[in-house]
Amino acid sequence: MLREITLGQYYQAESRLHRLDPRVKLAGTLIFIISLFISQKVACYAVATVFLICMIRLSKVPFGYMIKGMKAIAFIMLLTVAFNLFLTSGEKLVSFWVFTITKEGLKLAIFTAVRLAYLILGSTLMTLTTTPNDLTDGMEKGLGFLRLFRLPVHEIAMMMSIALRFIPILMEETDKIIKAQQARGADFESGGIIKRSKALVPILVPLFVSAFRRANDLAMAMEARCYHGGEGRTKMKPLIYKAWDIRAYIILACYLSLVILTAVISPI
C-alpha cells in the first residue's frame, strides 16, 4: 500500500528525457519553477501548460501514474486553495454564513492551485525520469563550485543519495512490519487520536531498530571497501554533456525567453 506513492520515485522507461544529463534536468526544473512565478498572466500559464504537456508526453510516463502520486498532497493543495478563496479581501462575489468569496480571492485561488499543481508535476517529472544516483551525481557536479566556499559537496551528495536509496527500502520494511503486527491482531484504523498514536509504537520501534541496523551494516560495508570521502575519488561514469544536452539547454532558454516575452507583451 505504501508503494503506491509515486512522489520522488523513479519510473523506468526509454525516453529522450530519461537519457538527458541530470544537470540539464535539474536546471530545467528550476527554470520551469521560475517561469511559473514570473507573472500571473493567463497567457504565461498557457505557455507553461503547453511546455509541461510536451515534456510529460516526451517522458513516456503514463499521466495517470503521475496523478496517482499527487493524491498524497491533494489535502495540502485543498487547504491552500481554501485559504486563498476565503481570506482574500476585495470585490464581493458570493457570501454565506461566515464565508465570503471575492473576485480577487477566486482568481488567486485558481492561480495558486495551478501553480502548486505545476510545481509538483514539474518536480515529479524530474524524479520520475532520473534515478536517485544520477540525481545526486548531477547535484554534486552541478554544485561543485560551492567547494570553493569549503562546502563538503561530495559528502552532502553522498548523504542525499543514501537517504534516497533508503526510502524504498524503509517503505518496504514498514509495509512488512505493519503486516507482521496486523497478523498479531494489531488495529491501526479504529479509536481516537491517542489510541491511534499508541498503535504506532509497534511499528516505529522495529522500524528504527532496523534502520539503525541497516545504517550500521552499510557503514561497515563502505569502510570494508575503503571509502574515505570525496578526496581524490573518481567516477565510473563521469557526467559529460552530449549533443542532446546542449540542445535541451537551448530549448530551455527559448522557453524562458518566451515566457518573459509573453509576460511583457500579453494584455491578460
Binding site: 519510473y11 512490519i177 503486516k179 509504537v201 520501534v205 531498530v209
Partner: protein, 283 residues
C-alpha cells in the same frame, strides 16, 4: 473444516509498469489437521500466498473459504480470522518491540481482547511451549540471540491460540541445532495440540521429514499437489523448476543402480537407513 483457495489471483502494483502476477489461478485445499509443506523456487509466490491465508493481502480475484465461510464477505470478521490463523513471517524477530519478552508475547492476545489474566496465562503457556528458559522472560527482546528471538516471535503468535499456524521459512538463518529445535517444536504443536500447520520451506529434506502433504509452486501457479512420496517420486520434474528430491532419495537410486535391493521411494534419512540395513543384512 478447512481452508479452501478457489482460483486465487494476485497482482502486485496493479495498473503500473511494474505489475507482477504473483499468484496465478491458485486452487487447493488445506484440510483440518494437515501438515502442509509449501515449496517452490525463490520468487514463486509462497510468501504472497501465505499472506492471503490470514487476509493481509486481498486476492485480485478468486475466493478463500475458512471453515466454510468466504473471508471476503463484507461482514466477515477479519480480526477473528487473524486470531485463528497465526502467521509467522520470514525473519519474525524483526517485529519485536516491547521492553521485555513477556510483554511482547502479550501483544497478540491483548489485541484479541482477552482479559489481563488470560493474556498473561496465554503468554506464559506460549513461552513454555517454545521452551524459552524462564530467566529470559523479563529481559529485552533485543538482547537475545537470533534463535531465541525467533522463539519469542513464534510464542507471540502461539499466544493467540491459533487453529492454523502458518510459518514462512521459520528456519532461515538458523544453525542445524536451532533448526531441529524449531521444527521439532512445530511437529509437537501439530501432533499434540492438533494445530494445522502450513510450513514454507526451501529444504526438501525438512519437508520430506515433517509434512503430510506438499504443494509445489512455480511462477505463481500450483505446479504439483500431493503426498511427499508422490511429489518426490517425480524428481526430474521438480528439477525442471529448480527444485530437487531430498538428498537421500538420490543415494537410494545410486544404490539401486549399483545392484542393492533398496527402496527408492525412501525420502527421509530414517526410511533410507532402515531400507539400506535391510538390504545389507539380506545380502
Amino acid at each position: 473444516m478447512s481452508i479452501i483457495l478457489d482460483h486465487v489471483n494476485y497482482i502486485y502494483s496493479k495498473g503500473t509498469s511494474d505489475e507482477v502476477k504473483a499468484l496465478d489461478d491458485v486452487s487447493f485445499e488445506i484440510p483440518d489437521g494437515d501438515f502442509l509443506g509449501l515449496i517452490g523456487h525463490t520468487g514463486s509466490g509462497k510468501s504472497t500466498l501465505v499472506q492471503h491465508l490470514d487476509g493481509l493481502l486481498k486476492a485480485s480475484s478468486g475466493s478463500i473459504y475458512f471453515n466454510g465461510e468466504d473471508i471476503y464477505d463484507r461482514d466477515y470478521d477479519m480480526k477473528a480470522l487473524r486470531g485463528k490463523v497465526g502467521l509467522v513471517f520470514q525473519y519474525p524477530e524483526h517485529q519485536l518491540f516491547e521492553e521485555d519478552v513477556f510483554k511482547d508475547v502479550c501483544f497478540g492476545p491483548k489485541n484479541l481482547g482477552l482479559s489481563q489474566k488470560d493474556t498473561e496465562l496465554a503468554a506464559y503457556r506460549a513461552l513454555k511451549d517454545v521452551k524459552l528458559p524462564d530467566e529470559l522472560f523479563y529481559v529485552s527482546p533485543f538482547e537475545l540471540s537470533g534463535g531465541q528471538k525467533r522463539r519469542v516471535a513464534l510464542a507471540g503468535v502461539l499466544a493467540m491460540k491459533p487453529e492454523v499456524l502458518v510459518l514462512d521459512e521459520p528456519t532461515a538463518g538458523l544453525d542445524p541445532e536451532g533448526r531441529n529445535e524449531i521444527l521439532g517444536l512445530i511437529k509437537e504443536l501439530h501432533d499434540k495440540q492438533g494445530i494445522t500447520i502450513v510450513l514454507v520451506s526451501h529444504s526438501m529434506d525438512d519437508v520430506a521429514e515433517y509434512a503430510d502433504h506438499i504443494v509445489v509452486m512455480d511462477k505463481g501457479k500450483v505446479f504439483m499437489n500431493g503426498t511427499p512420496k508422490e511429489i518426490f517420486s517425480h524428481a526430474s520434474k521438480l528439477e525442471t523448476i529448480g527444485l530437487s528430491a531430498p538428498g537421500v532419495t538420490y543415494i537410494m537410486r545410486r544404490l539401486k543402480r549399483a545392484g542393492f535391493d533398496v527402496d527408492t521411494t525412501a525420502i527421509t534419512v530414517k526410511e533410507a537407513a532402515d531400507s539400506i540395513i535391510r538390504a545389507v543384512n539380506h545380502a
